[in-house]
Symmetry: C2
Subunit: 549 residues, 2 copies
């Protein structure tokens, strides 16, 4: 019997800290708080990581313990991203935009032993009910201010803790399958569910991101994850930067055009990532003259996820020499599954249609499109089915402390004939022979009208190709005759010069008549959820409360 002679070393976050020390020591992390920019080298960050790791172990934290953060994007959050999993604890990154009630429900599940909280969030913090296990609270003040926080537990200060700590010199041996971090899904449709990443999934995801047909993050990049670090670990960008040696830029809690432009300009950012809304804001600011286009001249690539991107956004940045790269992902997929890529042999004309699709699956991630009958749909670019995902950074369950194995999720997963697990993403997609996946709808957003399915995403994408449209969302409204009919909400690009455009006429020229919404309502802004995505639930409520004629 021939057995593998390969080393059995685990893929863990410790590798990131070691690489930051050994070959990327001179690289820098910049954090901008208002107009102040504070730089640190990777070597300093790694040293501080070992310091907070030393404090954690000295304070009695043990492998498997949960450590929560209620922080924006800052040095301290990066240090905890690295230190908490590297000592074998589990990082729970709390979305700071959620209500105290929602956060309390999550804390009751993860039961952290320590909580690191931005002192600027004293009001939210004081509204929290901490579990009995949360005996250590550490205040973090990246902005320098240190208001007192009232708490049943004594609130320590991060700076004081660090000053007194003894750096950890030797990492404990970990298994790569053990838990690294827990993130909750956005929960715009029901209760938030916890997804627990492993060290293996986080590191494999980071290595795959570096691929030239994936995010192509390089040692030569300066990477600016504007997306909050509490969203699926900052969409994986911080870990990928530590691995690749790309310099990192964070903007604390700010995602306004002026803050973004200031950091891009000062730090020579090449690669930045955020939801489409943030980039629409930047594009508007450039067009208004509030942001100087030359401030963005170092920017090359904008991987964008979280929602469909508009034609205006893609062509607007393209005109500045900046490439918008459409990505598909979800918290359950760590989050990246598909990244836009112009494949060899794709003509200019084909590309104009395909560049709005999220592209090719990352190496190691498998996707398939399954019909209601449970078979793969034809690869014809037309037949819709449910997008399903499988692979080492795809979740196979949701966290459920009430169940015996800590897992639940019946209904969200299927197992195929050979025992391979697949996540049912809830997205409806088509695919073609070259692997281009096009998301046509969320399963729950499909509109059933007169026995025919209408794709809300298709309508939204069509609306987004109109130069006046900034954002669009389509929801179903009940109809006595047709059962359901689509209703469209849009916001217009700022300073749209003309009168309100005839969007129904615009759609009628492009789509079958029965698919055209009976009304297109212009709002000043579309409502957003805590993750910056359009909140369709509130639009459905709005539609229900103000029925159309």
């Amino acid at each position: 019997m021939i057995v593998s002679t390969m080393q059995e070393g685990a893929l863990t976050t410790q590798l990131l800290v070691d690489r930051m020390t050994s070959i990327h020591a001179h690289k820098r992390v910049f954090v901008g708080v208002d107009r102040d920019i504070s730089p640190r080298t990777f070597a300093e960050t790694a040293a501080r990581t070992r310091r907070v790791a030393g404090w954690m172990l000295a304070s009695g934290l043990r492998e498997g313990d949960c450590v929560a953060t209620l922080l924006w994007n800052c040095h301290e959050h990066l240090e905890l991203f690295l230190a908490v999993p590297s000592v074998g604890c589990v990082l729970h990154t709390i979305n700071t935009r959620l209500s105290a009630e929602t956060i309390n429900a999550m804390l009751a599940e993860t039961r952290p032993r320590a909580l690191f909280v931005d002192v600027g969030m004293a009001q939210l913090f004081e509204a929290l009910t901490l579990p009995a296990e949360t005996t250590m609270v550490v205040g973090v003040s990246p902005s320098g201010t240190r208001p007192a926080m009232a708490s049943d537990s004594p609130v320590l200060d991060y700076t004081t803790v660090m000053a007194a700590a003894t750096p950890l010199t030797r990492w404990p041996m970990l298994k790569e399958q053990q838990a690294c971090a827990i993130c909750y899904t956005s929960g715009t449709s029901g209760k938030s569910k916890g997804v627990v990443y492993s060290h293996r999934s986080a590191i494999l995801h980071a290595i795959a991101m570096l691929g030239v047909d994936a995010i192509a993050m390089s040692e030569k990049d300066v990477c600016f994850p504007i997306v909050p670090m509490f969203h699926a670990l900052g969409w994986g960008f911080p870990y990928a930067a530590c691995m690749s040696g790309a310099e990192l830029v964070f903007s604390y809690r700010n995602s306004d055009p002026a803050s973004i432009a200031h950091l891009v300009h000062t730090c020579d950012v090449t690669l930045a990532t955020a939801v489409p809304t943030v980039w629409s804001g930047v594009l508007d600011a450039v067009r208004r003259g509030d942001v100087n286009e030359t401030d963005l001249k170092s920017l090359r690539r904008l991987p964008i996820g979280g929602a469909a991107v508009s034609e205006d956004l893609v062509s607007g940045f393209e005109a500045m020499g900046i490439s918008v790269q459409h990505c598909w992902g979800m918290t359950e997929v760590s989050p990246l599954g598909l990244v836009s890529s112009r494949r060899a042999g794709v003509s200019d004309e084909e590309w104009r249609a395909l560049r709005m699709t999220p592209g090719m699956p990352l190496p190691g991630c498998e996707l398939r499109v399954i019909s209601e009958q449970g078979h793969e749909v034809p690869r014809d670019g037309r037949s819709p089915g449910e997008l399903q995902a499988s692979g080492p950074w795809v979740t196979g369950a949701y966290f459920d402390p009430a169940s015996s194995d800590g897992h639940s999720g019946a209904g969200s997963f299927v197992t195929d004939g050979r025992g391979q697990a697949w996540l049912k993403t809830g997205d409806v997609a088509t695919w073609d022979t070259r692997g281009y996946v096009r998301i046509v709808d969320r399963a729950k957003d499909l509109i059933k009208s007169g026995g025919e399915w209408i794709s809300s995403i298709e309508l939204e994408s069509a609306l987004c190709t109109h130069p006046a449209v900034s954002e669009a969302a389509v929801v179903p409204i009940p109809d006595s005759h047709w059962q359901e009919r689509p209703l469209a909400y849009v916001s217009l690009v700022r300073d749209w010069p003309g009168q309100e455009p005839d969007l129904k006429g615009f759609l009628a020229a492009r789509l079958p008549k029965w698919q055209v919404p009976d009304r297109v309502i212009v709002l000043l802004e579309l409502p957003k959820g805590a993750t910056g995505k359009i909140d369709k639930r509130r639009l459905r409520q709005l539609a229900a409360s103000a029925p159309v004629a």
Copy 2:
């Protein structure tokens, strides 16, 4: 306790076949035999892989069985690269350039149940003593000719076998830690030793190769591994191409300039890899006018490994717009550990010195430089120590069927304080703060002269910067006074116009006097081993048989 919810799917070669079917189906594999080029799509290759897999299981092969190949680079070899491990068997790729005696010793260790052999190698095959287990022999004839082969076992024909086989529709479930393939080290210094790759190591290596700072292999590339597939699985390029969707080109047994140029031109090759000798040949042929420079115009990148590259080679290709990328690897490292990369902030002047170094460690691979006292040497770019490697595609032992766990290798490995295994590579290196590793010598090639160490690689590199020098090798010769002295052998670039250059004078202007070899001997060609590397053992014998004055 929070436990990971991630899927537990294994990283196996099955993923490659699935990806070739699902998203890279239209991509092609080209095999050139003499002037005939036979193309097949990835979909066809994947279908044929399932067919030969079906034959293997139907023939009684079972998980853990060894299947050996004695083949050049061809369609059938790629099919076996994919099929053998994907059914759980272990692929033993035999170096076709070895003697029957050496191959017999290897077969006595791996004891394959099946052997796939190129019918053009009937003479070598008939000199082999097959183990009793080898009951199935399949003749492969990529060139179309089918001479009969005499054997104790009936020799089947690959075409007939495939025609009768039923394709395997469902892969067996495998563990990623199980053996995928066994390759033997080149053994220029003693007995060849087997390294057993796992599915995990092969797939991680392939994903890491795609990194933009690694090989950056893209779906847009046409990849031509001129290196034989029996060398460390073709240096990992075939698997990386299947993963990325790069088209593949193979040249069967040919690596002459005309064959290479014909395939590069016809298939629009962008990325090709081989030992320096092959590329020196191509460069010479272009300079002689035997190869048309425009035939190479699609070429962009030449990752080169296996030996130091000469300044002439790098600048010669650079003048044609082709970038030579120096890599460091060994069979024990799957094989890639370091890939040349111009890091951010490296000046033109620094780069001229650094581009001859093998660059940065791949993400997931850890390297360190250790002094004789067992400590990391200073990162000053000057202090030498032994290069040691650790990571999921680095071997932790050698194959040894005589030992109880199938492993041996005491002396070649060390374990650090926290239990992490490190391979002692035998290479002597320096490193600097930016992670640039420079190989200064093979431990066994260091020359001890008058109590001082002289680096043979440093001398070779210095000789290689002379425009007349094509290849250089320095070996120690015994010296009554100094204990050892360096002796240099060189070959000159073809058609070097002037008289024999004063290489001793050239070195004397660049190096301390005591390091300059007493003689520099010009040979028509330096002797090569089975892997195409310069055979220093034969040069040492030559030096011993013709002592210098």
